[in-house]
Amino acid sequence: MTPDFLLEMYRRILRIRYFDEAAVELVRQGELPGVAHTTIGQEAEVVGACMAVRVDDYMVGNHRSHGHPIGKGADMKRLMAELLGKVTGVNRGKGGSMHLADFSVGSVGETSIVGSGVPVAAGAALAARMLGTDRVCLCFFGDGATNEGAFHEGLNLAAIWKLPVIYLCENNQYAVTTPAAEVVAVRNIADRARAYDIPGVVVDGQDPVAVYEVVSEAVQRARQGLGPSLIEAKTYRYLEHAEGLPIAAQYRTAEEVAAWKARDPVVTFRQRLIQEGVATPEALDQVVAAVRAEVAEAVAYARSSPYPDPEEAFTGVYSTPVGGVR
């Protein structure tokens, strides 16, 4: 891994962190409609995985995937505009925070029905192969999603057809307030791979390089036609399930939260870059400043963009309208 590559990792981790911090602020100020599920705390696994694939590889995300297109290199301005429901948003304001899609970086759509992206990812991977490309599909979902039937069906399909897909379970230990330990019958979600005879790997989701490495290996297998992998990144979300939801329950201890924050990827990865001589603290500070400026620009762009014309609500249900239907 070159220093440039590592610096780019750091940059993307910061982008996600600051982007989501801005999103939280916009919810609190009533500028972001609805609620926002943040990736804060999980940036390392997102970036490690996304940087292990090419920009023309496909990606499928879920309700908590602001960060994922960013990890894959998307323009933050159009993402932020989408979060505010503006016509300049990636989905022209029709999708919002839980349904970002940015085909320009291979993000073929996030889907907020938990588990529903898993079969879609298998299909994108199937098409990649049938179209004669060596593209793969990277599919993100949570610990909770692995209890949905769609997860099971999608993994079995991908396995029997040896599809080039990398299933990345972001095990942040909870589904809303429900601990995975209580509702996922197996200790390591990666062990569910055994039901499909595919590799299952546990990785430290707070270490972007470790994630990058295991995902790279899975990508290589996939491109070689050896089929899918299930990777479980152990991680943690710092904030509540969604900014804007009135969750009052005490389902996590202060110690647990503190222990995870002590391994904050923004902090630890910076330390590592300095220790390993990849960059000086000053150089990293410059990255910080640059990213802050980018995010501020994205917010400004989003704010100043117009809402879609209300008429747009009535178009686009079909891509080829006929009759009274549009």
């Binding site: 609805g34 429901g85 016509v87 029905i113 209890n147 809303v176 809402y307 879609p308």
Partner: protein, 328 residues
């Protein structure tokens, strides 16, 4: 009388029925933390066996509830947002709706499925559906869509005591509305519409959250001397057709207001019933005011115009009056 919210009414209905009957229990995601308060303190009061936090397995736990109901328990399933019912459609249709009939009466399925219709809140296409019309097309399910705290308390209690599966569609746009609700126990039977406002000139049948818009519209029109009767079916299956027909017989005009997508909506069904059985009462075309057949867009300026508003209802009422006058 004290006033309580729609959410509080749900809480009370569930709690009272769980206190009354030990066979009643509740399942759903994150019940213990009860984000909106409908199961607040239930774990402490009833224990974790009767207040079951489920995994994200809607089809699985709806099916499990059906199995439990078939052998003697009376589950309430909080499926959370109505848009998640699609994930459980297999069990809802193939088991819950059909078991009683298909097994020749050996099985009863006393089961309540609660589903919040979470619309007009920038939750976008995958979280904002009002899918009761789909389920109206499937026999075997009783369906309620209460429009006020008083109604939901009485109807939900009845639903829990009913020996058949009942889908309770809870309109989240009403969650924080308040109404006087007695402390004493009461039940509202299924299949009885409520005339929420009496009137002479036009019948407005309104479903769920649209009842409020219809009452607002009636108020506006009253100022012009137009007298609107607002009928709330409250339960969609069984549907109180008699009350609707009687009202149309009196007024001669019908507007049906439904927050669901228009095609094959509850409004379509009510319009069809009246066109069949109340045709000779009608002195003007029926008008539906529903959500156009587009998905729910995220951006609020796109979304908020889609649902029935009191303005759209006022316009529809005026249209029926205009058309009947032109023909007279």
């Amino acid at each position: 009388m004290r006033e309580i919210t729609y959410l509080q009414a749900i809480y009370e209905a569930q709690r009272e029925e769980m206190q009354r009957d030990a066979r009643v229990f509740i399942m759903g995601e994150d019940l213990e933390s009860s984000v909106y308060g409908t199961t607040r303190g239930f774990t402490e009061e009833f224990g974790r066996e009767r207040v079951r936090n489920t995994p994200l397995s809607e089809n699985g736990f709806v099916g499990a509830a059906a199995g439990a109901a078939m052998v003697g328990l009376r589950p309430i399933v909080d499926i959370n947002i109505a848009s998640f019912m699609y994930v459980a459609m297999d069990q809802l249709v193939s088991i819950v709706a059909k078991a009683t009939y298909m097994y020749g009466g050996q099985a009863r399925v006393p089961l309540v499925i609660r589903a919040a219709m979470f619309y007009n809140g920038a939750n976008a296409a995958q979280h904002s559906d009002r899918p009761y019309p789909m389920f109206m097309n499937m026999p075997g399910l009783k369906i309620i869509a209460p429009s006020s705290p008083y109604d939901i308390k009485g109807l939900l209690k009845t639903a829990i005591r009913d020996d058949d599966p009942v889908l309770c569609f809870e309109d989240a746009t009403l969650w924080f509305t308040k109404e006087a609700v007695p402390e004493e126990e009461y039940l509202i039977p299924l299949g009885q519409a409520a005339v929420k406002r009496e009137g002479r000139d036009v019948t407005v049948v309104a479903v769920a959250g649209a009842v409020r818009q219809a009452l607002d519209a009636a108020q506006v029109l009253a100022q012009e001397g137009i007298s609107v009767e607002v009928v709330d079916p409250r339960s969609l299956v069984p549907l109180d057709v008699a009350t609707i027909l009687a009202s149309v017989e009196k007024t001669g005009r019908l507007v049906v207001v439904d927050p669901a997508h228009q095609t094959c909506s509850a409004a379509s069904e009510i319009a069809a019933l009246v066109a069949e059985r109340g045709f000779w009462s009608l002195s003007a075309p029926i008008v539906r005011v529903a959500t156009p057949d587009v998905h729910v867009p995220f951006s609020p300026p796109l979304e908020r115009q889609l649902y029935p508003t009191s303005e759209r209802i006022v316009a529809a009422v005026r249209q029926t009056l205009r058309e009947s006058a032109a023909s007279a």
